[in-house]
């Protein structure tokens, strides 16, 4: 809600009388298509040489600030806001620019947002924060969010309320380290086993898991034989395995037996089907500390599938359940763009 700032004690002076006074806030200049940034930083003492540039920026009058008790300058306010919002793995500059602070990743991992708390924060007066989507894999220094106090001066009471809310829901933003998971892969399919076609799944899975810090310890190719697949899964379970991935055999044809083989292998939890295309016939299960993922064959054709949405979460130590797979429905449709821009698109971003 916007407050009536005319009641506040800003003194306004014409720009031609401002020589010798200090700028009270970073003043942004916009040159269309060329530049947007602070032309004058807070504290800069205005010289006669600056007057022309100020007028070109459309500034004919300047504020002289006289902060009263209970009023906080935007730069001080934003430091408190960022400190309260940023949890582990989230860092920000010690010097605000244009009253704003950018929150960045202190290390690579899975970015997580308390979406409910962020919405509640943005309902409060005179503060804002915008972020990228939750559950996005991020790299060190990547931009995650930005926050600011909206007016040049904010009331201490409003700032305290925003800080208290962020602290109550700590951490609103965090980055969780990816775990160095030990992964074992079972590629199923008579056609691959017999050598009629060459396997391509191993390379795809290996690239995606190693990028997040996992290691592909072992990989085997099996025919569509329920018993053999199940025995292989049990063998992997007895080894030091964090994640078992199976590929193929997840569909509805008589030769598709991988799902049944997984069900035979004693998993306590199994979630079959996800609200994502490509990837509807995805399986996710848990047994003790081992996770299993059944990848449908769509992973061979589509560059990005459900695997790319769930793998980072599992690598970060999460155990997504049926509700998580259902929630992905909103934003779960890949548009199959000619040039894939994932993750910079709506795929896998429930809103």
């Amino acid at each position: 809600m916007k407050k009536n700032y005319t009641a506040w004690s800003f003194k306004t002076i014409p720009v031609d009388q401002a020589v010798g006074t200090a700028v009270t806030h970073d003043m942004t200049q916009v040159i269309p298509g060329k530049f947007k940034g602070p032309a004058f930083k807070k504290g800069h003492e205005i010289t006669s040489g600056d007057l022309c540039r100020l007028m070109q920026m459309g500034k004919n009058n300047l504020y002289v600030l006289d902060l009263k008790t209970g009023q906080i300058h935007e730069d001080d306010a934003v430091m408190e806001l960022a400190s309260a919002l940023a949890g582990p793995g989230v860092t920000f500059s010690g010097i605000p620019s244009e009253g704003k602070l950018e929150l960045r990743a202190a290390y690579s991992g899975l970015f997580k947002v308390n979406v409910f708390a962020l919405e509640a924060f943005n309902m409060l007066p005179d503060v804002m924060c915008a972020s990228i989507h939750t559950h996005t894999p991020v790299t060190k220094n990547q931009s995650l969010a930005a926050t600011r106090a909206i007016p040049l001066v904010i009331l201490r009471a409003d700032l305290d309320q925003a800080v208290a809310l962020a602290k109550e829901h700590f951490p609103v933003f965090s980055v969780t380290l990816f775990l160095p998971l030990k992964i074992r892969l079972i590629i199923t399919g008579d056609e691959v086993y017999k050598g009629l076609i060459q396997d391509r799944f191993q390379a795809i899975v290996k690239e995606k898991v190693t990028r997040l810090g996992g290691t592909l310890e072992e990989s085997v190719i099996l025919p569509d034989n329920q018993d053999r697949i199940s025995r292989q899964i049990q063998e992997f379970l007895e080894k030091d395995t964090d994640l078992i991935i199976t590929t193929g055999g997840m569909s509805v044809d008589p030769d598709d037996v991988t799902k049944e083989a997984i069900e035979d292998s004693g998993f306590e939890q199994i979630h079959y089907s996800s609200a994502v295309l490509p990837g509807a016939m995805f399986l996710l299960g848990y047994h003790g500390r081992t996770t299993i993922m059944g990848l449908p064959a769509c992973g061979l054709y589509h560059r990005t599938t459900i695997f790319d949405l769930i793998l980072p979460r599992v690598m970060a130590g999460e155990t997504p359940g049926a509700r998580d797979l259902a929630r992905l429905g909103h934003g779960g449709l890949c548009l199959n763009c000619n040039t894939c821009r994932f993750p910079a698109c709506s795929f896998g971003k429930p809103g």
């Binding site: 930083k41 430091m79 960022a82 400190s83 940023a86 949890g87 582990p88 793995g89 860092t91 920000f92 500059s93 010690g94 010097i95 202190a106 290390y107 991992g109 951490p171 965090s174 980055v175 969780t176 380290l177 775990l179 130590g317 999460e318």
Partner: protein
């Protein structure tokens, strides 16, 4: 700021000996401070405006610390482990910053600048005193984004490790497996605790040696 000779003496005393690294460090620090507009960085009015990043833990690092007054414990001296004879000087007030890298070519140039000195170390030491900054250094204007958690001043951020209970300052904690952890718990340690048994054996060995 004091003269070069005074600062060099001071630096050699603080470091423990006079060496070519001291000469390079003192000159680097003097030039760095001059270029970012801090003429007397150790003075009270300027001491909080400066942050220095050193990229090696060699003799020159001590010289830079002596001349600028930047200290690890004050958070005004940052060690970036690059193994490069370089340092960056940041004026926090104006944002002005320069990175100064010692040129390897200065080593060979030293021979022609002080041919009368035979000893290579002494030759470098004397030559570096008189060489121009351009011959001695590569200097570039840079921008440094100093993180809020790296700023000098009182501790603003504290967290508690959810595994071992250790208090972690300055946002060095990490999130792993849904827990806030200190780095030793999350990422491993650079040390290995000595087990009780080993300790006793070591004590016995020591005892035997004494006898």
């Amino acid at each position: 700021m004091e003269t070069f000779e005074v600062l060099l003496q001071e630096s050699a005393k603080a470091h423990g000996h006079l060496c070519s690294g001291q000469v390079v460090g003192v000159r680097m620090a003097m030039e760095g401070c001059r270029r970012i507009g801090l003429d007397n960085p150790r003075e009270r009015s300027q001491i909080k405006k400066l942050i220095v990043y050193v990229e090696m833990d060699r003799c020159a690092a001590d010289a830079i610390s002596t001349v600028t007054g930047a200290r690890l414990g004050r958070r005004s001296l940052k060690f970036v482990d690059h193994g490069i004879m370089a340092a960056t000087f940041v004026n926090l007030e104006t944002g002005k910053a320069v990175r100064i890298v010692s040129r390897e070519s200065a080593r060979t140039l030293a021979a022609s600048k002080a041919p009368q000195i035979r000893d290579r170390h002494r030759q470098q030491l004397e030559a570096y005193k008189t060489m121009t900054c351009e011959d001695l250094f590569h200097i570039q204007a840079v921008k440094v984004n100093v993180e809020a958690c790296d700023m000098p001043g009182p501790t603003k951020f504290k967290a508690v490790c959810q595994k071992c209970g250790q208090v972690v300052r300055d946002r060095r904690e990490v999130m792993k497996n849904n827990r806030i952890l200190c780095r030793p718990c999350a990422l491993g340690t650079y040390f290995t605790p000595v087990k009780e048994q080993e300790k006793k054996e070591n004590e016995k060995k020591l005892h035997r040696m004494v006898i």
